[in-house]
C-alpha cells in the first residue's frame, strides 16, 4: 500500500508540473508584452466591428511600413473598445460613434483612482481638479474615414428605394409596417409577405447610429427583429432570406444582396451610397469613423495614426469599401450629412 503510493508520487509530481506549466502558458501573455518592448512593439487595437476589416487591413499594410511594430486588432463593438481603453488594456480604440460623455468621465475617474492607488492616499480636491484638467487623462479623438450605412434587401426583391419614414415604420417600436405589400412591393420570393427585420445586437455602434439617425432620438426599435452579432452576418443572412431587410456598412455588400437607394423624405431624390454621395452629403445615412487614444499618443502610436491619415492609409480605407477623408485634410470632428 505504502509502496504503491510512493510509486505514484512521480506521476503526481508530473501532473502538478503539467498544471503549473499550463498555468504558466495562460499567464505567459503578460511576459510576452513586457519582453516585446526590447524587440517588437505590439500595439493593441480594439473596438468597432464595423471597422474591424479596415483596422486589420491597416495593420497588415503597416507591418511592411514599420517592421518594428506589430498592430494587433480585435473587434467586439465600439463600446467594448472604449471600455478596453478605459481599463488601459488597449493603445487605440476604434469606434464607429463618438465617445459618450459618461465614457469620457469614467476614463478620468479611473485614472484618478489609479493615481490615488499609486500615492497610497486620497487626493486633495485641488489635486483632483488638476488631474481632471490634465490632457494625459483624456481620450483623444482622431477621425479616420467615413462609413456609409447601406440598407440591404435580397437580390430578388424588386424594391429599389426607401425613405426614412418607411424605414422608421419598419424598425421603430411605434412603426406599423410589417408587410412588403404595405410598401407597395410585390416580393415574389417571400410568399407570406412578412418583412423580416434584421438588426444588430445592442452593443453595436451601427445599432446605436441607426437608431438615432432613422428612428430619431429617444425612440426604440420594435422588438422581434433578428439581431445579428456582426456587420458581415447581417448581409450574409439577408442574402439567404428573401423576406429580409437589413442595415450594415456598404463595404460588406455581396452579390446576393441589393443596396437600396435612400431618400430623407418621400418625393426627395433617393441616392445610393458611394464615396461621392457620402462626401457631398447627398447620401443621408453616413457617419464618421474614429480612433481614440488615452492622452497624447506615444511616438509609435502617433506614427501609426499619421500613416492612417496619409495617402497610403486612406487608400486602404477606399479599398476596404469605406469612404476616405476628403483631400483637404479633415481632422475635425465634423459629421457629414445629418444633424
Amino acid at each position: 500500500m505504502f509502496q504503491k503510493t510512493f510509486r505514484k508520487i512521480p506521476t503526481l509530481l508530473t501532473l502538478v508540473a503539467l498544471a503549473a506549466f499550463i498555468l504558466q502558458l495562460g499567464c505567459g501573455k503578460k511576459d510576452e508584452n513586457a519582453g516585446a518592448t526590447t524587440e517588437k512593439i505590439s500595439l493593441q487595437n480594439q473596438g468597432s466591428d464595423t471597422m474591424v476589416n479596415l483596422a486589420q487591413a491597416w495593420a497588415e499594410a503597416y507591418a511592411e511600413v514599420d517592421s518594428a511594430v506589430s498592430v494587433e486588432v480585435s473587434g467586439g463593438g465600439s463600446g467594448t473598445g472604449i471600455a478596453a481603453l478605459i481599463n488601459g488594456t488597449v493603445d487605440v480604440a476604434n469606434s464607429s460613434r463618438k465617445i459618450e460623455k459618461a465614457e469620457k468621465d469614467s476614463v478620468v475617474s479611473r485614472r484618478i483612482k489609479d493615481i490615488e492607488k499609486k500615492l497610497g492616499r486620497n487626493m486633495e480636491p485641488n489635486e483632483r481638479a488638476q488631474a481632471r484638467q490634465d490632457t494625459a487623462n483624456k481620450p483623444q479623438e482622431y477621425m479616420v474615414g467615413y462609413d456609409a450605412l447601406a440598407v440591404f434587401v435580397h437580390k430578388d426583391n424588386p424594391m429599389e428605394e426607401i425613405t426614412y419614414e418607411q424605414l422608421a415604420a419598419i424598425y421603430s417600436a411605434e412603426g406599423k409596417t410589417t408587410k412588403w405589400s404595405e410598401l407597395g412591393v410585390k416580393n415574389a420570393g417571400c410568399p407570406n409577405d412578412e418583412i423580416i427585420r434584421i438588426s444588430r445586437q445592442n452593443n453595436s455602434g451601427t445599432y446605436h447610429y441607426f437608431r438615432e439617425a432613422i428612428l430619431g432620438k429617444g425612440h426604440d426599435f420594435k422588438l422581434g427583429s433578428v439581431d445579428m452579432n456582426g456587420s458581415k452576418d447581417v448581409v450574409e443572412l439577408v442574402s439567404k432570406t428573401p423576406c429580409a431587410i437589413g442595415y450594415s456598412g456598404m463595404g460588406y455588400a455581396t452579390a446576393g444582396v441589393k443596396i437600396l437607394r435612400v431618400a430623407k423624405k418621400a418625393g426627395d431624390t433617393a441616392y445610393a451610397p458611394s464615396i461621392e454621395t457620402t462626401l457631398n452629403r447627398t447620401y443621408p445615412i453616413a457617419r464618421p469613423l474614429y480612433m481614440y487614444t488615452l492622452g497624447e499618443p506615444n511616438a509609435h502610436v502617433k506614427k501609426y495614426l499619421d500613416w492612417i491619415h496619409a495617402e497610403a492609409g486612406q487608400q486602404i480605407v477606399k479599398e476596404s469599401g469605406y469612404v476616405p477623408l476628403p483631400k483637404d485634410g479633415a481632422m475635425s470632428g465634423e459629421t457629414p450629412a445629418q444633424e
Binding site: F2, F6, T80, E194, N202, V226
Partner: protein, 297 residues
Amino acid sequence: MPNQRRLGTLTEPIIEGLIRFCGISAILFVIGIFFFVFREGADFLIHKLNLKEFFTSQEWYPDSPSNKRYGVLALLAGTASVTILAMLIAVPFGLGAAIFISEFCNRRFKETFKIVIELLAAIPSVVWGFIGLTVMNPLIIDLFGAPIGLNVLNGGIILALMSVPIIVSIGEDSLKAVPDSYREAALALGVTKWQMVYRVLVPAAKNGLLAAALLGVGRAVGETIAVLMATGHAVQIPDSFLDPVRTLTATIAAELGEAPVRSDHYQVLFIIGILLFSITFMVNLIADLAVKGIRKK
C-alpha cells in the same frame, strides 16, 4: 525498504487530504459560482427590480434611450419553446437508441455505437451553431416556406442533437442496472423481446430514464452559443415553431460584453444568470431525486 515505508507514512495523509480536497472542491465551486453571480446582481435584485415586470413583461429594452425596461417573459418563452421542441425530438430518439444499444444490439455493434454517440457529444457547440446558421437556415426556408430559417425549429433540432448523447448514455446505464434475473424471468414466461422491454425493463428503469431526459433538459436550457446562432435572436413570444426567438443564455452572451460594469443592465444580466442557475439547479435536483428513487427500490 524501511526508508520507503517512512516516506509512505509521510505522504499518505497529504495525498489523502489532496483527494479529499478534490472531492469537496466541486461543492466549493458550485457555492462559489452561485455566490459571485448572486453578488453581482444582488443590489439591483433587492432594491430596484420590479419582479412583477421582470417576469410578466415581454419588453426587453435594456438600453432604451428614453425608458429602460427589463422584462424577460419573451426570453423565458424563447428558452422554454426551444427546450420543449428539443426534448420532443431528443427524448424519443435518445431513449429509443438507449433501448436499442442495451437490449437489441449485438456486442460488436454496441461498442461502435457507443463510440459514435460519444463523438456526437464531442462536437463543439459553436460548430452546431454554424451548421444551424449555414446549412439548416436555407433548408428550413425551402422545406417549410418559413420567412426565415433561424427559428425555434432550427434551434430545437440543433439542441436535440446535442442532448441525445447524454440521454443515450444515461438511459443505457439505467437499463444496464436492471438485474438480468428480470430479463430471464420475463423470457422464461415466454414473452417476446419487445414485450420484455416495455413491460419489464422500462418500468424497472423508469427513474433512470426520467433522469436521463431531465439531464437532457438541463443541457438544452444551459446551451448558449449554438442557440444564439440558430434561433435568430429575436425578442418575441413565438406564435409557431417557425418564429425566431431569443433565449436567456443567448441574451447574456450577446450583451454582457458591452454592459458597463455595475450598471443596471449588467446587474439584470446577472439576475438572468441567477434565474438560469435556479432553473438548471431544479432540473438537476429532480433528476437526482429520480435516480435516488431507483436505489431505494
